[in-house]
């Protein structure tokens, strides 16, 4: 967590020697707390003071990176319990489980499909993150071969799953450069797994289903063995225990700064659910409630899409709503004679209007103006959605080329813009739409005639 100036000051030499460029140690400490300068600028800082400061300023939940340079997942480093308090920063990795006993051809087909799944939403490209490969065969060579083949097919982040350090070693030989997550160190094998994690500089899962006490004891042993990059596996979690345990873990990290459990969490929703449909629901809950890596037991684009959407929604910064890129959007399959509506680029406004147009049975054109992500009334009040802006957008996006008529429907909330807009858009008919998106369908039925 960020340290206050006073807390930093306590660790400084207090000689006011000015070598850092500040008149006093206190002035320097204040700047450090504002992150305006690095603590290393103090030339006289003792080694112990530096270590103490570093430890104290470490994030409460460690940021863990899985994967190589081409594609990686970063999880952890969350700072709040509720997204409205600030935001959730690092979306959980969604990984598809593969077993090394499955026919390689089928596995590689899935790998190919997962790697090529790109869903376009609000101009963003949504994809799954990688694979968790399980050493179901219990054979080191089979495991290594499978890992190598998957990696050759698609270089996505991996979780390597085997309780056997020898099999893990064999698989790491083939993949360590892309920093897979090692699953897992348990109370039985932790020494060997810790060695592997250090040797290959890979993050390591600490797995202990017995209790959080024992999980904390395990992470401390791993820390002492020199492994810092950890992910927690508190054991199989159903709907209730997932919510309660993961909440406890986040609270311990954020409210108690409890280092031994200050790591992201890996979950396997299929382990406690009876059907693929139920697995998806639990995965959805875990996106909202505190999972860092979610391993799905199967790949299906039909469930990947809603989960990716859920992740996008939950990890949207509440202070910076998703904005649509301004432009002219076809809703349904509009013709040049179809209605033209105009709205702002606040994503929720766009979606409300687009959904209603979609449902209205009138394929339409929707002109989206750049209002810096503000909704209709707020944008109007802020002077970012006026007649001039609408007229400019009509020109900028060459609306006249898409449509054969010259009628534009403005939101009912900004009916006042009609007069001015008639001035700006000579020869156009300005129609005042309903104040609520919900009424668009009935409005079009009543007033739209070609």
């Amino acid at each position: 967590m960020a340290l206050s100036g006073i807390e930093i000051y306590k660790h400084l030499p207090k000689t006011n020697c000015k070598k850092c460029g500040f008149p006093t140690c206190l002035a320097f400490a204040m700047k450090v707390s504002q992150k305006a300068i690095a603590i290393t600028a103090c030339t006289d800082l003792s080694e112990t003071a530096r270590a103490a400061l570093e430890a104290a300023s470490r994030p409460p939940i460690r940021l863990i990176t899985i994967g190589g340079d081409s594609r990686k997942v970063e999880v952890g480093n969350e700072v709040v319990m509720f997204r409205h308090e600030k935001t959730f920063y690092h979306p959980p990795g969604l990984m598809i489980k593969l077993k090394d006993t499955a026919p390689l051809e089928a596995t590689l087909k899935t790998v190919d499909e997962v790697a090529n799944l790109v869903i376009d939403r609000v101009g963003l490209k949504l994809s799954l993150d990688g694979f968790a490969i399980q050493n179901e065969s219990k054979d080191a060579a089979t495991f290594a071969r499978c890992v190598e083949a998957v990696k050759a097919k698609a270089d996505l982040p991996l979780v390597l799953m085997s309780p056997d350090p020898a099999a893990m070693e064999a698989a790491l030989e083939k993949s360590a450069r892309s920093r897979p997550l090692i699953y897992a160190a348990t109370k039985d094998n932790w020494e060997k797994m810790a060695e592997l994690a250090k040797k290959h500089s890979c993050p390591l899962v600490a797995s202990e289903p017995a209790s959080l006490d024992e999980l904390a004891a395990l992470t401390q042993k791993l820390n002492q063995a020199g492994v810092e990059d950890l992910v927690l596996d508190p054991g199989p979690q159903g709907f209730s225990s997932s919510l309660n345990t993961l909440t406890q873990l986040r609270r311990l990290a954020l409210k108690k700064s409890f280092r031994p459990l200050g790591y992201p969490i890996i979950t396997f929703p299929a382990e406690t659910t009876g059907s693929p449909e139920e697995e998806v629901l639990l995965a959805g809950q875990q996106i909202a409630k505190y999972a860092g890596i979610i391993v799905l037991s199967r790949f299906s684009p039909a469930t990947a899409y809603p989960l990716l959407t859920m992740r996008l929604n939950m990890y949207t910064d509440p202070q910076k709503p998703i904005q649509m890129s301004p432009g002219i959007y076809p809703i349904g399959a509009p013709k040049p004679s179809s209605p033209l509506c105009v709205t702002t680029n606040f994503s929720l406004t766009y979606f409300s209007v687009a959904t209603e147009l979609e449902a209205s049975g009138f394929p339409s054109w929707l002109l989206v103006c750049d209002t810096e992500g503000l909704s209709v009334l707020t944008a109007w009040a802020a002077g970012k959605f006026d007649a001039e802006k609408i007229a400019k957008s009509v020109k900028a996006f060459n609306v006249e080329a898409s449509i054969s008529h010259r009628s534009i429907i403005i939101p009912g909330r900004v009916a006042v813009l009609r007069g001015e807009l008639e001035e700006e858009l000579q020869g156009w008919k300005i129609m005042v739409g309903p104040p609520e998106a919900m009424e668009i369908g009935s409005y079009l039925k009543r007033y739209w005639t070609n």
């Binding site: 509720f82 997204r83 409205h84 799944l117 790109v118 869903i119 376009d120 939403r121 959080l212 006490d213 904390a216 401390q220 159903g238 709907f239 209730s240 919510l243 309660n244 909440t247 406890q248 609270r251 311990l252 409210k255 108690k256 409890f258 031994p260 459990l261 449909e277 139920e278 998806v280 629901l281 639990l282 959805g284 809950q285 909202a288 409630k289 299906s300 684009p301 039909a302 469930t303 990947a304 899409y305 809603p306 989960l307 959407t309 859920m310 929604n313 939950m314 949207t316 509440p318 929720l348 979606f351 409300s352 959904t355 979609e358 449902a359 049975g361 919900m438 369908g441 009935s442 039925k445």
Partner: protein, 313 residues
């Protein structure tokens, strides 16, 4: 080393609201002294309820998967309600859509008949929702109110434009008002205050914070609900009403659940996607404080019922 779990102790409590009774089955929702399903902090004495939407007219533009699942029942609200009860509904959410000026413009007389029929067909608690046009809502809700007198229905939507008459009907006939506001914590609180000022008891109010479906604003609803619930737990009486979310409609009306053609291949199997859309929306909003979720697909009813049991375990 023993790990000391931080526990939050809350001073506030969500109101307990009863629906039904007087010959009907009754149900109590609310009463939480903790965040949803978080048993480490406090109690959640009543499980969230599943209401199933039943419309008084055949839905015009429903997904073929919903139509296939309900079949002929869609043509008769009484048959539909019975089937919903068989599928596991705790509550029937009867929507008087035919009163909408564009969808039949029926009035008080038809509303009375429909409500009578549905009340006779099932013994579950019933929610009555108007067509979402304030004047028509008044007309049909007041008619429904007198038919269901004493059976503690929930009447919605009670919004800033019509709250006086809906609340007055609730007071006169012993019903519960569903106070609906557009995804805003202050507006929600404000409407509760106005309704209470008229004289409706706080335990006769449900809040509908307006549901954004998955991909269509769910994050706003989710966070507004978390904030409303946190405010209630801190002790704000005017945000302590249980919450109801219209999950089914807001999921199934989206292109992802409805469109049968012209969608990218990357979207995968239609039915599987649509069910996941409704299911994830429901689970998320249950986790942010929904006490009633209104659902549409029979499969979702079963899945969410099971998920609620597991969350309560």
């Amino acid at each position: 080393m023993p790990v000391e779990i931080p526990v939050e102790k809350w001073a506030g409590k969500v109101n307990e609201v009863k629906l039904g009774g007087n010959g009907r089955k009754s149900i109590v929702i609310g009463g939480e002294t903790t965040l949803p399903f978080l048993k480490i902090d406090g109690a959640m004495p009543h499980r969230p309820a599943i209401a199933v939407e039943v419309d008084d007219v055949m839905p015009a533009d429903w997904s073929p998967h919903l139509i296939a699942a309900w079949g002929d029942a869609l043509e008769d609200p009484a048959v539909w309600a019975k089937k919903a009860a068989e599928y596991g509904a705790d509550i029937i959410a009867l929507t008087l859509d035919s009163a909408h000026p564009e969808r039949g413009n029926t009035g008080a007389a038809e509303a009375k008949k429909t409500v009578e029929k549905v009340l006779a067909a099932v013994d579950l608690p019933v929610i009555i929702i108007g067509p979402d046009v304030a004047e028509k809502d008044n007309e049909v809700l007041i008619a429904a109110s007198s038919v269901g007198r004493g059976q503690r229905l929930a009447l919605g939507n009670c919004v800033d434009k019509n709250y006086r008459s809906v609340a007055a009907a609730c007071i006169a006939d012993g019903h519960v008002a569903i106070a609906k506001t557009p995804i805003d914590i202050n507006l929600a609180k404000q409407l509760n205050i106005l309704i209470c000022d008229i004289g409706l008891a706080p335990d006769a109010i449900l809040m509908d914070p307006t549901t954004g479906g998955l991909g269509y604003g769910i994050e706003y609803t989710y966070s507004v609900m978390e904030r409303l619930r946190l405010a209630a737990l801190i002790g704000d009486k005017m945000t302590s009403m249980p919450m109801i979310c219209n999950v089914g409609e807001e999921s199934w009306r989206q292109k992802e659940a409805r469109a049968t053609s012209g969608v990218p291949a990357t979207w995968g199997d239609h039915q599987e996607r649509a069910l996941a859309w409704e299911g994830i929306t429901a689970v998320s909003l249950l986790n942010s404080g929904a006490d009633i979720v209104v659902l549409q697909h029979p499969r979702t009813i079963a899945l969410i019922k099971d998920a609620i049991s597991k969350l309560m375990a």
